[in-house]
């Protein structure tokens, strides 16, 4: 008998909870408030989504663009081979500045040049 009463009370609690939960939803029904905005006029559509006018030619990006980029890279590599300046390239006071630790980056400038040298040696 006691177990049946407990069962009924539990059921009532669940039903009450559901009622409380569902009640405020009626007040904040976003879809109902913005009902007009879901059916946009063609003028408003064109204003909000200019892509629908097809300004952009998407077809150009995929195949032709990659082949063009390959040609560009080939040209740039041929025209600008890697050249590292010798020490004579810098003036005397600039050579001191190369080792200056008060530099905005983490390391002095000479660190980055030497890093570049190592890279080129490895690729050759």
């Amino acid at each position: 008998m006691a177990s049946i009463i407990r069962f009924i009370r539990k059921k009532r609690r669940e039903i009450n909870k559901k009622k409380n939960y569902e009640a405020p939803e009626k007040f904040v029904d976003v879809a109902e408030i913005n009902k007009d905005d879901y059916a946009l006029s063609p003028e408003k559509l064109a204003f909000l989504y200019p892509a629908s006018k097809q300004n952009i030619n998407w077809g150009y990006t995929s195949d032709s663009m990659t082949s063009a980029a390959k040609a560009d890279l080939a040209f740039l590599r041929r025209r600008f081979p890697k050249i590292l300046p010798s020490v004579d390239y810098f003036e005397e006071r600039e050579r001191e500045a190369l080792f200056d630790r008060r530099f905005a980056l983490r390391f002095p400038p000479i660190y980055y040049i030497s890093k570049c040298k190592k890279k080129t040696a490895a690729t050759k």
């Binding site: 063009a68 980029a69 040209f75 390239y89 400038p109």
Partner: protein, 149 residues
């Protein structure tokens, strides 16, 4: 103005961008002309440079213990955003000739010096241009449909 995007959500600046650094012994307008005529697509060009600068710093004279101003040399690298040239988008031959005029040595260095002079950060330490070490040319290539003027 360049606008548009990839269908995967990439902004156009991520497309085919080349960073070229050349030493100062080259003829910059000639190099720019060569690049602009040979690369494909609508180009956006940003030219900047590595440079050495002179500034006045405080130091103590060892004999008299007085504070004196000493000239010091530093090396400055180009800002990620800044560019010296005014015409950035290359569409026609006229744009290239404009760019050539802006990147001629005198015009370029004077504009660079004015950048330094007008910067409030460098006005305090009186930083001035010593010489240009290397030019950096950042070029992004866009599909022509993305460019609107």
């Amino acid at each position: 103005m360049i606008y548009g995007g990839d269908k995967f959500g990439n902004p156009p600046q991520h497309y085919n961008r080349y960073h070229i650094t050349v030493l100062n012994d080259v003829d910059l307008p000639e190099v720019l002309d060569e690049i602009c005529t040979n690369l494909n697509g609508a180009l956006q060009v940003h030219v900047d440079c590595f440079m050495s600068t002179l500034g006045d710093i405080d130091a103590t004279d060892e004999l008299t213990n007085e504070t004196i101003k000493v000239e010091s040399c530093r090396i400055m690298y180009p800002n990620q955003v800044s560019h010296i040239n005014e015409t950035t988008e290359i569409v026609s031959r006229a744009d290239i000739s404009k760019l050539r005029a802006e990147c001629a040595f005198d015009a370029f260095s004077s504009r660079l010096a004015s950048h330094l002079r007008d910067d409030p950060f460098f006005q305090i330490s009186n930083v001035r241009l010593n010489r240009i070490l290397a030019y950096t040319i950042n070029i992004s290539c866009f599909p022509p449909g993305w460019l609107r003027k």
